[in-house]
Symmetry: C2
């Protein structure tokens, strides 16, 4: 196989996932609209309704995921009336009732979190990456995400300014860059469950909320070449773009035409299959 198939769907993921086969997906990686945010984009799900809104989808995802597959959910609760809302932790409990295993919670430390100052809280600088599985025997390719202790750590160290050292005296314990090939032959260690990455800002064509390195890391960890990756809330297609570059097959679903069009432009045209409404376009 020369390239991987990238199938992009325009429509509601709750409906479109129904047409996906049982036990066919190796990794679901997605960042759904957070409650009440992107109000104009997704209809603004109220925090109190969020769990009930999400559960029909997670039920479908449980069906289409392979027994060896993994579901990684990037999410964070909003502040509502000076409190962290509980919809995320309630969702975890309800998904377990559906049959999901809550295997792990990774932390994404956002080094350049949104600025701001409030009398009762500091900047929110992290998000959850909830790992769910269908069975205890899931695929995990740990060696693929090993961190070079040599080059990466040293370069990282070099860049630290005096003030950085004061703020974070013993460096950062885990992290990763984009060019794995540069690390071949170096001494490597396993990473931890804390990921240090900046959000991507200032990108003109698309403002990806998560950096490419985020789906890249989980795709490396939980899939092999030729496996199937699904992002039911594709947005501008970051997950699918990365999956394609990594020679994984992928499915992306997006309900808003504006985002869908951006995603279309970001993936390479070979092996791209588009499903827009009733029509089906294939580009070879």
């Amino acid at each position: 196989m020369a390239g991987a198939s990238t199938q992009l769907f325009l429509g509601d993921c709750k409906e479109i996932t129904k047409s996906i086969e049982d036990n066919s997906i190796d990794l679901v990686f997605t960042s759904p609209p957070y409650a009440d945010s992107r109000k104009d984009s997704y209809g603004g799900i109220h925090p109190d309704d969020y769990v009930e809104w999400f559960l029909p989808l997670s039920k479908e995802l449980l069906r289409i995921l392979k027994p060896t597959g993994t579901f990684v959910l990037n999410i964070k609760e909003r502040v509502v009336e000076s409190e962290r809302h509980t919809y995320v932790i309630e969702l975890i409990l309800k998904m377990r009732e559906q049959g999901w295993l809550w295997t792990e919670e990774f932390i994404w430390h956002k080094k350049n979190s949104h600025p701001g100052k409030w009398p009762n809280r500091f900047r929110d600088s992290w998000e959850r990456l909830l790992q769910f599985n269908k069975s205890k025997k899931f695929n995990m390719h740990q060696e693929e995400v090993m961190v070079p202790i040599g080059s990466w750590a040293e370069n990282r160290l070099k860049k630290l300014s005096k003030t950085d050292k004061v703020r974070d005296p013993s460096k950062v314990g885990s992290g990763f860059g984009k060019n794995v090939s540069n690390w071949i032959g170096r001494d490597k260690v396993y990473p931890t469950n804390v990921l240090h990455m900046a959000t991507e800002t200032g990108n003109k064509n698309h403002s990806a909320v998560f950096p490419e390195a985020l789906p890249e890391w989980f795709i490396k960890l939980f899939t092999r070449e030729g496996d199937w990756v699904l992002d039911p809330f594709m947005g501008s297609g970051t997950t699918n773009k990365v999956a394609q570059e990594m020679r994984r097959n992928s499915i992306g679903i997006e309900i808003l035409p504006e985002y869908f069009d951006v995603a279309k432009e970001r993936v390479h045209k070979e092996q791209l299959v588009l499903f827009e409404g009733r029509e089906r376009y294939e580009i070879d």
Copy 2:
């Protein structure tokens, strides 16, 4: 007052907290025994029983905390049968039913987390620091924990003789650029809700899991000199030692004599008040 009072109690915190006055504590900072861990120390509460075991204490804490006070709970769920157990998130929900506000969740990134390798997960490198409050109007002294500004500022703020830049008018916000001049000469900024701290490595006589910097940070943030700090699971007394050095009054409760004795030795003897069993010793 020359020094702060440090009162150490030997006994069960669920009982001893009952004798503490209503609305008298400014900060509760504690790291309770995690479920099933330190089995030999605390009797090993089973994960499934953890919430019910904890709730009577949190109810007392709600009573004795000042309306302006804060409860910081350092906790992390254990892995049980390849899953993260749900007792922590269930506890959050139940404590809210008791009347607590779940204001925030800080992340303690443990930079030197214990090494290890498992087939299905990486090293656990973070813990939760759950912030609960009694009311929305709690004391928070943000200026006490400011950190050096990032190195970006060195270049960014070098020359600002021009007129203030105005943000893209398409965005509603009034704009960061407009107030850039406010940043000249500033060298400290507010921190985020992610704390990078190493675990205490020095193998001492006790199993102090958190470094002194951890309670120190929260004591600075949520109390002033002369305020009252409580650690109901004192352990070897790290919280109380730090509180004393920071001229805060404190109460520590520990059920195990071995730990209690270690704590006794770690605090300075002036103003130390001991309550061991029925007897009361005052040392002045």
